[in-house]
């Protein structure tokens, strides 16, 4: 309860900061629309040439793009800004300002994950939902309660995996303060725009199990528009739990290495 109230405070503080720069809203809207545009153009150009791609039709691929946009929006909403404040360029680990954060009487992992909010990302969330809606309105297999449930479960697992990955990459900053692990992840995460099945054999295992972007977006989209195999669903849930535990431990181990940075 106390944590929920704290999140409310964080959201309000961030909103007050953002609203001071209103032109930024227009610019962020422009970026959202461009991002949506290039994604939709990519999918339409592709399916202007082919009917299906490794079993994925226009409907499924568009739904996948929508899931990707939604997941990215949630990441941009609070995980990205909060973890970047810690480990990004000129972040708290690098500058030594983490001292003040550590002194606060709140769990440090909670603080590191929920402190800063970027409410402009809500437009991305709306656009992403619009894409999923548009995909589902195309003719295809009907949406049943079972599919919706599988979608919800696999999306929750996917988001947990995303959080664990981001936290893990953030924790690495304690070993290598100058390296921007978040950027490395950004690049790899873009691959989640398309189904894992299209990537060549040597890349696919890495994208399913090491940096499982496939489980983050491919699985939920498959649950929504096709049939997600039960083992994949359960495997995703299991991996989510495992990764969350591992990432939290890595974060705490890393934190113990932190030796401040007096200048």
């Amino acid at each position: 309860m106390r944590y929920l109230r704290l999140i409310g405070r964080f959201v309000r503080a961030s909103a007050q900061q953002d609203l001071a720069y209103r032109a930024n809203f227009l610019i962020s809207l422009l970026h959202s629309v461009l991002n949506l545009g290039v994604g939709v153009v990519g999918v339409t150009v592709l399916f202007g040439q082919v009917e299906t791609l490794h079993g994925w039709d226009l409907r499924g691929t568009l739904a996948l793009l929508g899931v990707y946009l939604n997941v990215s929006a949630l990441r941009g909403l609070f995980l990205g800004p909060s973890l970047d404040a810690l480990a990004g360029m000129d972040g708290e680990v690098w500058s030594g300002r983490l001292d003040f954060t550590l002194l606060r009487p709140v769990d440090i992992q909670f603080l590191a994950s929920f402190r800063y909010w970027r409410l402009f990302s809500l437009t991305d969330l709306l656009l992403g939902m619009g894409v999923v809606g548009a995909a589902l309105s195309l003719p295809g297999s009907p949406l049943t309660a079972g599919r919706l449930a599988a979608f919800a479960v696999s999306l929750a697992a996917g988001l947990t995996i995303l959080y664990a990955l981001l936290l893990g990459f953030t924790a690495l900053v304690f070993w290598s303060p100058g390296f921007l692990f978040g950027w490395l992840f950004n690049g790899i995460f873009q691959m989640a725009r398309y189904p894992v099945a299209i990537y060549p054999g040597w890349l696919r295992p890495a994208l399913t199990w090491i940096v499982p972007v496939g489980l983050i977006t491919t699985a939920p989209a498959q649950a929504l528009t096709g049939d997600l195999a039960l083992p994949t669903l359960l495997g995703g849930v299991g991996l989510a739990g495992l990764m969350l535990t591992a990432a939290s431990r890595l974060f705490r181990t890393g934190l113990r290495r932190y030796a401040s940075a007096s200048s």
Binding site: I27, L34, T44, L46, L180, W183, L184, P200
Partner: protein, 269 residues
Amino acid sequence: MNLIAPLNSRGGWALVKSTWTSWLQYRSFFFLLAFGWMIPPLIYLFVWSAAAGQDHVGGITRGQFVGYYLILILVNQITYSQTNWTVGDVIRSGGLNAWLLRPMPPLFHALSSELAGKVVYLTFVTPVAALLALLLRPEIDPGLAAAPLFVLSVALAWALRFVWGLWIALLAFWATRADALLAVQDALVFVLAGVVAPVALLPAYLQGAARFLPFRYMVGFPVEILTGHLTGDELAVGFAMQSAWLVIAVALAYQVWRVGLRRYTAIGG
């Protein structure tokens, strides 16, 4: 001060060298940037090779898609001008004062980070592209005459993309957030310059726009020279369009700089 003349090439070269060596110290940072830029074309390399499979799409086989995109990754990196993203900051923060005071044309400052960037980025992208070539087995068979034409068109493409971005970035004299327009340029390059798909595979309305607007001539055109078997007419029209857009871009940049500088009031330093 005039953007280019009078040329002080000795001072300019010293600046290029110092920028380049100082950037090499931050290799990992620039390698990460280059990694991020090569991902979108790499994704579409995989998408189109998967679409082609054992067969072909629009007459292009899997190996040809791989060849097309590997060359595109290199050309995209050579022509991508990250400098323009910082020109706006320089104007906003007042860093332009230092550019104006030094006894050499301000353009050298932009060019020095351009050149330093190319060297640093390419030391990362070239080996990665070579490794991908080993893994993915591209098929490229350019005609004999293609190589010199390719080099020429890459040079023109870089100049066009740099100067086009420069006039947009210089709008920072009027609007502090003009760099948002650079994101529009990036999106248009992605769609129209052959990144999302080779221009020949775009739907008709996009293809028309691609052939007329400047963006294809910033990336896609040189790549097509090496991989697309362009006819003599297509080559002539392509080079004519590329040069014409370059002239327009230079005129725009020159004019924006001249008028903008008169408005410029230095802040900080």
